[in-house]
Symmetry: C2
Subunit: 311 residues, 2 copies
């Protein structure tokens, strides 16, 4: 299932409105096929893997991160039907499909055909891998990641706004990988006016994965999409939104409780008197606790990355 | 030598003006004695270990974190003479003694007596363990640790000054251990007036290791020592000073380049608009880089501790 989850990660940010799913088929303890939801949402992971496996799928075990779909679409047959037709002996499922067209029916169809089905394997990890899909389903908005590049004392920039460069080359490269996993990227009007940021992915081979640019602004801006309030992210296409600054924009989304994940790049420098996060409406320190849970921490050159998610 | 360094740590903050030293004596691959500089500076580590070893010291190897002293004092004989008299076969030394009364003469005396002497083993670690001693020698002031307890966005308190509790019980207990390793602890006048902090060590068995309290204040305060400017720390007794707040006091010491080590306790909370570090005189971000080096990072409950030292 770990391998299937890693495959599902490959097209995070490219499959909306479909979930990003991974599938590994194992026959006689050997991996015979690997599939993942392709960009645009089709083919599905199981269809890709079954095509790769061919006749070796008969009697094999399939590990899928999401319950195989039970609905036929104009873009392809139902994956549960494909698994039955291929003669798979066992299917291990991580997460149930919340789509009402499937929601248990995929599993039922497999079992009705005599296939052994196990469920709930690393379900929490699968939910995190396809957080964009589940957030859109449950909250009718994209999954929101807030990126902050800060000094040890929490400064995003010097008092006069200078911020190049608080963090180093490795942290910036990592931030570009993160951009490639988001359909949309948002900055505030101040950052847009001051820097006219490209907000594109400047990594060899990933240039075409640059997200759509969005500016938080009450006035429209030529050539770029704008939203007037944080809540309007509901109308954005794609299931993953990356917020890149500045501090006031970050605070606006935090105050609206519209941040699901924090990417905290921290440089080993002290600025003093710099631009820090403004008010987010906190009235008591007690209310701040239990909100964020550390899910990853690593060194990036001389900087550190910490990832926090809703606790 | 690692064991000797750990022994030397035991009385960090208690041996001034003497260095805190550790000594392990090994005979036939068995540790036969362990010594460390006692509170107040005497007995020395070697004297304590040799007494423990007794006759087993003959032909043994001694591992000492600092070159054995060569000067007789009214408080005891020279350790190099004691090692010779005990018939030790080999002495492994980490750091040379910068004291002009020894500075190589201890090693010379051992070698003259036919003892094999190795030097420079984990010298950098030994320098860090007795940083108070070496800082006093080279800069004529105590080694200064600045403690900061911050939110993810760098707030030491809410805008109105409330800061109880940003960090949790584990981080506060660790901060009390740190207090026990310092002869003096300093806060700014604002913190003193607002909180009247005890600044004592509230850990079972360590209550008597509470440091002297010092307040940064241009006016004298009844019952507590004051200094008017950061540079006046040179006149404090003891070789280790801990600065505990508030943000303005921290900034004053950073601006004066009088901080050797940062203890950064960070809670997984976002405050927004809180009290952050004020100006420290930084004119260009480039000047901020290369100043701090991460030397330790660990989890303390749901908080994180990062230790930075001069890079």
């Amino acid at each position: 299932m770990g391998a299937s989850l890693a495959l599902a990660e490959r097209t995070r940010g490219l499959t909306a409105p479909n979930p990003n799913v991974g599938c590994v088929i194992v026959a006689d303890n050997v991996v015979v096929a690997r599939g993942w939801t392709q960009a645009g949402g089709r083919p599905h992971a199981e269809a890709m893997a079954l095509e790769q496996a061919g006749a070796r799928a008969a009697g094999a075990t399939a590990y899928v991160t999401l319950e195989p779909c039970a609905h036929v679409s104009s873009r392809g047959p139902a994956c549960s039907d494909l698994l039955v037709a291929a003669g798979v002996a066992r299917v291990v499922v991580s997460h149930r499909d919340p789509d009402p067209r499937t929601n248990g029916q995929g599993i039922d169809r497999l079992r009705a055909a005599g296939i052994v089905v196990d469920t709930g394997v690393r379900e929490h990890d699968a939910a995190r891998v396809m957080a964009g899909f589940t957030t859109r389903r449950s909250h009718a908005r994209p999954f929101v990641t807030l990126k902050l590049a800060l000094s040890l004392d929490g400064a995003a920039a010097m008092a006069d706004g200078r911020s190049q460069w608080i963090t180093g080359a490795e942290a910036r490269a990592h931030a570009h990988i993160e951009r490639a996993r988001h359909e949309a990227i948002l900055v505030g009007r101040g950052t847009w006016e001051a820097d006219r940021p490209q907000l594109d992915v400047r990594l060899p081979g990933l240039e075409q994965r640059s997200p759509e640019r969005v500016v938080l602004s009450s006035q429209s801006i030529d050539g770029v999409r704008t939203i007037a309030r944080p809540a309007e992210i509901a109308g954005l296409t794609g299931d993953h939104l990356l917020i890149e600054g500045g501090a006031r924009t970050a605070a606006a989304f935090l105050a609206a409780d519209l941040v699901d994940r924090l990417l905290l790049y921290r440089a080993p420098v002290i600025v003093g008197g710099g631009r820090t996060l403004p008010d987010i409406g906190l009235t008591d320190l007690m209310h701040a606790h239990g909100r964020w849970r550390l899910t990853d921490a690593r060194a990036l050159g001389s900087d550190r990355l910490e990832v926090y998610e809703r606790g």
